[in-house]
Symmetry: none
Subunit: 196 residues, 4 copies
DNA sequence: TATGAATGAGGATTCATTCAT
DNA sequence: GATGAATGAATCCTCATTCAT
């Protein structure tokens, strides 16, 4: 097994552990056990616990982002693309289960640092990247006349906010039937809000 | 100063400290210092750090919830009420600043417990209480013909999701000008999505 | 209620609490509750927790010692006196129940201090007082010819050791039937050991 | 140094510290220092302070018990065996010095738990094991006609009580000359009490 | 490269004691 | 005299990280 594979395996183990225990209670030794390696070995691949956090976030975000770009590159109509993106995100979230909570905690931490250091959060960049992807699709739709004229940035933000919030609902409700009903109506409302 | 006032003062101090340091790094001794009392005194008012978390969440949520109920009780039109509620929430969030991160962390914790214990999270109850308030307004609007027929639960969830998500945007962007533009467009989109 | 009565009440409360919880886990506030007074009031009657320990020991020992002196002053034969004393001690111990454990802990503490400070333990004095009482009776018995000649000090010590040890048996066995059988045989053996 | 040796070294360090300071005042960090290791290392070998208590007791008791079984297995006459056992116990106690106080405190704690939980104390089992060893020797002596007929259980208890009690005398008197005189007479009295 | 034994900084919590009312 | 709110010293235990093997 090469270096990258093992790194990946540790990340996956870490996701399991942190999802189960939380960022703070999740111990390095447990990650090692979950990955089937020794505690010390973790430090051959990551400089610190902190670095594992970043790696997890990167991994999780990259996964989802690549999927979204694939959708954006299809020849679907803008409206269909948007729906597909929303659905993809939501499916991904459901698949992550409460692993979402990890990302939340990581972001909360990042947010706090951002607040103090006044450094533009790395996270903000990711949001922007996502937002741009949405904005592009919205503009296409406006050009084709499918969507009404709008402040594309604002609407993109609405969409992202909507996905974020929906994730929480899922974690808290976890009552799948109700969740899917809600989700369907929520998507419909959103689409209606931007149609011409 | 009576017992309740002092409890409140500790809660406020705790919010300061946790917002600055995070739930884990925020030390009891710092809370005590912030409140201008001795470390031991904190334990006269709260059994444990955990109990402070709950108290903070309760306090923060109650604050916002009472404000919303006041709005719901006015004689505004349903559409105006909804806009007022969204705005109130967002202002509140901005006012909380990154104190929002505390609530997020507390919720992440609660979510994890909920996931493991399969106990209905206390939090879910709060979401429901909020959702019901929204649903009531939506129904009024449908009756008056302002709003289109809809799955009220789904739309209410969308609204909540939108507010949750927008909070995050604020924490991460903190670029007020852009945030307010986004917010304005987002509210408009949402309202358009439900109008007749 | 006068000062002495209240002091006594606190001592009794303390015995209850310490017997239940141990010397260290037994809290001043619990003693106060048990005595039906305020925490601060305890300090009107005792300078410190330490002082309560001493008072308890004194109280418990005085009780038993007075009873023994009463027996010593009777006109029973030396052998009968000795038996009566052993029985009285044992009954007292049983009556104290695991309150004996308090005395043990107090003594262990005293023993340690004695060891370090090289001060003659106050306790040693009490042992001597008890030993002298026994020695007096043994000498009477030797004079009357009931007892064999012996090193009275050694035998008195044996008797005390025997009572101490039997107390432990009771605490540990607490199986009354077996305890009383053992006690009867033990007393018989002891008496046989000193008879002419 | 292997795992067991190190465990043993910690136990020995703990005995030193607890004997000096008492069970409660004796700090883990002091044990570590005494053992020449880091504080955290102690917890690699023992789950908690409580577990150290148990280990000490076990170690101390096993030591003495093995010695006694060796005596019991010799070809000495029953009377000589009994004397040897008493002497061995007493020498051991003297060797332990005020380390005896640790055992006392541990037992006091155990006794209290026993009292509350109504669980047969582990300690009771150890007493029984000791008692059986004595009873076996007493029966041998009765068979050979060296000892008078007796309730063997009762006499065994007397012997144990005598040893327990004598230990205390030593801790409190620590005046060796007097102690040894007393001990000699006490053993003689005991033996006389059971001879035919 | 892999390991896990060793480490010690760090923090929540307890409770005897004080003292203003 | 009686009270209990306030205090902070004291200590167990956790766990990220290091490093010798």
């Amino acid at each position: 097994m090469n270096k990258t594979d093992k790194r990946m395996r540790i990340i996956e183990a870490a996701i399991q552990v942190f999802a189960r225990e939380g960022l703070v209670k999740g111990k390095i030794v447990d990650i090692a056990k979950e990955a089937g390696i020794g505690k010390g070995t973790v430090y051959e691949y990551f400089r610190s616990k902190e670095e594992i956090f970043s790696a997890i976030e990167e991994s999780l975000m990259d996964n989802i982002f690549q999927a979204l770009e694939k959708i954006a590159a299809t020849s679907l109509s803008p409206a269909k693309k948007l729906e597909a993106i929303m659905n993809k995100c939501i499916y991904q979230i459901v698949a992550m289960g409460h692993g979402l909570l990890i990302v939340t905690e990581i972001w909360a931490q990042a947010g706090r640092e951002h607040w103090h250091t006044h450094q533009p959060a790395n996270l903000a960049g990711k949001y922007d990247r996502f937002r741009e992807l949405i904005v592009r699709i919205l503009r296409q739709g406006i050009e084709t006349g499918e969507f009404r004229p709008m402040n594309e940035d604002g609407v993109a933000t609405l969409l992202m906010a909507f996905i974020d919030g929906l994730s929480w609902q899922y974690v808290l409700l976890r009552d799948s039937k109700r969740f899917w009903e809600i989700k369907t109506e929520a998507v419909r409302s959103f689409m209606k809000g931007i149609e011409r």
